[in-house]
């Protein structure tokens, strides 16, 4: 049975208070399962330690590698942990299952914007993870006192935050699109696993992309993943000229618009074939 729905439904919201409440509810939900969240953060800390110690070992008896000083590379590595919380923290991973199990109907019959609902949840999730990420990296710096490169220019730091913010919006739409595969297939985890594997590599979650062979680096530049982690951190490190920063911001905003339009299109197409199966 096809539920009677407006195909533009779920893409725009008018009541900010409602979404503020969803934001609060998401925090309450996470705090209800505190041990689970604690273990999630332990995973994140371990991932940070793995990458940090790996790079630290590569720099044994060296002061520079691939044009990065030891300070710059270790700063890149620690900033990955912070930028990850802003960009890659998301609650949208369950959207595919919600579509497959018919739970999407619960949202369609309510006066609520589906995308705004998940955006509010993501904001709550990102903020909580960001606070924890800053705390963890702070503790790490206090204990190990690694050599780091701090950015003294406030303008550059602000631009870094803007770039990370754009990266967060980009990833949100990217993750939504992967979730919308659920309209056409019951196999939602496999496409997500494949896309995450490609994304993590080309986003620079293990290393700065410009150490790659030129051909791979060129491929990374035409993908939106380039603007998730690598670009914001390069801005922070002060390794880009003003023209490069402006060009990067323009292209990433272009990607946001493209993914936004694509999301709207796929959502309307998906709703036309949605059958509330499983309900």
């Amino acid at each position: 049975m096809h539920p009677v729905v407006d195909h533009k439904q779920g893409m725009s919201g008018q009541n900010p208070k409602l979404y503020l409440q969803i934001f609060k509810n998401t925090w309450s939900e996470i705090m209800t399962y505190r041990v689970n969240f604690l273990f999630w953060r332990i995973r994140m800390v371990m991932q940070m330690l793995v990458v940090y110690f790996l790079w630290n070992a590569f720099y044994a008896n060296r002061t520079a590698l691939f044009g990065y000083s030891r300070e710059m590379m270790l700063t890149y590595v620690l900033l990955i942990s912070i930028v990850r919380t802003i960009v890659l923290s998301t609650t949208t991973v369950d959207i595919g299952n919600k579509i497959n199990q018919g739970d999407l109907s619960n949202y369609l019959v309510k006066p609520i914007c589906f995308v705004c609902f998940y955006f509010s949840r993501d904001m709550a999730d990102k903020l909580l993870n960001l606070i924890c990420g800053i705390f963890e990296v702070g503790i790490f710096i206090l204990i190990l006192n690694p050599p780091l490169a701090f950015q003294p220019d406030l303008f550059v730091t602000s631009t870094f935050l803007v770039a990370a913010g754009i990266g967060a919006v980009l990833y949100f739409y990217f993750s939504l699109l992967i979730g919308f595969i659920g309209f056409w297939s019951t196999e939602v985890w496999a496409p997500r696993f494949l896309s995450l594997t490609i994304m993590e590599f080309f986003a620079g979650t293990l290393f700065p992309l410009d150490i790659l062979p030129q051909s791979l680096y060129t491929i990374s530049q035409v993908l939106p993943f380039h603007y998730f982690i690598y670009f914001p951190i390069k801005v922070y490190l002060g390794q880009l000229t003003q023209t490069e920063i402006l060009a990067g911001l323009t292209v990433s905003v272009g990607w946001v618009i493209l993914l936004l339009l694509l999301t709207r299109y796929i959502w309307s197409k998906g709703l036309k074939i949605y059958q509330a199966e499983g309900k």
Binding site: Y33, V35, N36, F39, W40, I42, R43, M46, Q47, L49, V50, F53, L54, N56, A57, F58, A60, R62, L65, F66, S185, T186, E187, W189, A190, P191, F193, L194, L196, T197, I198, F201, L206, F207, I211, L212, P213, L216
Partner: protein
């Protein structure tokens, strides 16, 4: 005893065939998963080659040796996932109380959650990994001896036993605290430190990965034996530590069973 082993062997074959049928029922998903695993493997290899092209060595190891560490990690990790995939599906059984259905069966309650669902995708993935592994041995051929290969194979088998210990701990954790989703992934993150020889890490971290959480014994020691860097007495000590680790893990599991509340059943 032999009859008992035969019964478990037949049971394992049956469960494995069922698991293979389930996994391969969605060929689209299977192909995507395998593509993802292959890409993940290739991407890290590219990263390693990129670094080694510049540094020529990783700590005290040559580039060819460093690659061998990563390939051994990949093979151990894949064999582990091949045999212990069911562990990833255990928590919902505890939360729903459906673990009761396993407890009432006339088999060891650990058998089904630990090895009751071998993963065919990992079996298929072993093929390309072993091909790359064989190619990577070419530059090391002059140094390969029978004793080193024997030491390597014994320690690889030992790694599977240590991995079994870790997975038993994860199962025990799922019973003790039903809240946690990520325990198995913490294990995966921890073992990922073994993608490179643990000798390159700080002293305290190396000790932790050798004596507390024996990731080093799992991932680094087999290759060290292969390269002739591990004495027979060290190999023996490694086996003893692994047996002790496995016994401790099993004890924790049997204790955890007393805490099972059968909630929601």
């Amino acid at each position: 005893m032999i009859k008992k082993l035969q019964r478990y062997w037949q049971l394992w074959i049956k469960l494995t065939l069922d698991s293979f049928q389930t996994s391969l029922s969605s060929r689209f998903g299977a192909v995507l998963f395998m593509a993802g695993k292959l890409l993940r493997f290739t991407f890290f290899l590219i990263f390693l080659f990129t670094i080694l092209a510049k540094t020529k060595a990783l700590g005290q190891y040559t580039a060819a040796q460093a690659v061998l560490f990563y390939l051994t990690f990949t093979i151990v990790d894949t064999i582990t996932q091949l045999f212990f995939r069911e562990v990833y599906r255990f928590r919902p059984l505890v939360v729903s109380g459906d673990f009761d259905l396993i407890l009432v069966k006339p088999i060891n309650p650990l058998f089904r959650p630990l090895v009751g669902g071998a993963d065919p995708l990992d079996l298929l993935m072993l093929i390309p990994y072993l091909v790359v592994f064989t190619i990577s041995l070419v530059p090391l051929t002059p140094f390969i001896t029978f004793a080193h290969v024997a030491g390597y194979l014994i320690l690889i088998l030992n790694s599977v036993f240590i991995a079994a210990g870790f997975h038993i701990l994860v199962l025990a954790m799922a019973i003790i605290t039903t809240e946690i989703d990520h325990t198995i992934m913490i294990y995966r993150d921890l073992t990922s430190m073994g993608r490179v020889p643990i000798d390159i890490y700080h002293d305290w971290l190396r000790s932790f990965l050798t004596y507390i959480m024996p990731v080093g014994l799992m991932m680094t020691f087999p290759v060290k034996a292969f390269l002739g860097l591990l004495s027979p007495s060290m190999i023996t000590l490694t086996l003893i530590v692994s047996v002790v680790f496995l016994i401790v893990c099993y004890r924790i599991w049997t204790w955890s069973l007393t805490k099972y509340s059968s909630a929601s059943s």
